[in-house]
Symmetry: C2
Subunit: 187 residues, 2 copies
């Protein structure tokens, strides 16, 4: 029996990563994913989201256990702070996506990462949400992310990794491009 040696860099299975990329190159339908969530209002500003199955690699995957998220508003925004609020969840998603993009691209290039920390922040003007001024965007005006990375790499290589992450991250592209949202009411 031939022994398969897997190359692991930064905790990422680089052998598996390259195999996945090759498979999608040959059969693009393998790369077509569909992510899903269900949400339930609890009361006031509290609601819970459940994430379990998703479609990808031409089949549906179900997790052993679903992931559940509690969302609420802090007291100063009329809630009871049972969970972070929705605009903070968006920052969590963005932080995770660009970080994983950096880690995986570094792994693919053979760059060993020791640590990545980041800070995110963005301004929201509630005049938009409350329809006080129709010219005010209710969303984030912009989001700033600052990274602190320790790695066996030059500063130029790290800057390139951050640049690539911004270019390829699914969450970053969902936010930076005008992504259509379709909302409908079940009858």
């Amino acid at each position: 029996m031939a022994q398969v040696t897997e190359k692991i860099v930064n905790g990422v299975n680089v052998t598996g990563l390259f195999e996945t990329i090759e498979t999608i190159k040959e059969k693009p339908e393998v790369g077509k994913y569909n992510f899903r969530a269900t949400n339930k209002w609890i009361g006031g500003t509290e609601n819970h989201t459940t994430v379990n199955d998703f479609y990808g690699a031409c089949k549906t995957f179900s997790r052993k256990k679903p992931h559940v998220f509690v969302k609420d508003e802090p007291e100063s925004l009329l809630g009871t702070d049972k969970g972070a609020n929705p605009v903070e969840y968006l920052l969590a998603g963005l932080a995770g996506c660009v970080t994983t993009s950096i880690v995986c691209h570094a792994a693919a290039k053979g760059i060993k990462i020791h640590s990545i920390e980041s800070k995110l922040e963005g301004d929201i003007d509630l005049q938009g949400l409350f329809q006080i001024d129709e010219n005010v965007n209710p969303g984030y005006r912009g989001i700033n992310i600052s990274f602190k990375i320790k790695a066996d790499a030059t500063e130029k290589e790290l800057e390139e990794l951050v640049e690539i992450a911004k270019k390829v991250s699914p969450v970053a592209n969902t936010i930076s491009r005008p992504t259509p949202i379709n909302m409908s009411l079940e009858k």
Copy 2:
């Protein structure tokens, strides 16, 4: 002493909501918020986000306890499924934001809501993330949300609530508008 009677609809303090809106109308700087998160890479596709303080109503608020989020990828995407993945966090944020927008606008109109459930889904083509085809958007192509609402309201009123939520939700507007992301490397 005068007794203050607070009007609560759908668990939302409508008296407080209207007071907040009036205050922001008089002093727009009260409505200027800044939301924040810090993120730490753990290993492989796992990273943790911490959300605690935020700025709003002209001061900085600190929570009693921070909210921490574990992000990971499922096994089929080279992770160990310790948490939902970043694109699923984005759905959780969107679900929460439009739900709270519906609940609060219904409360402001005096419409009693009994239940709100929603399903969200969106397609992502990994050819974008893996830079296999530069013409493929790495982000969600679009996101569909379907609501099931039970309320003391006509179908027309419910359709209007869904329409308003789409128009004013901060997360929905961050996604549907081209929101700039600025990424930098601390030196």
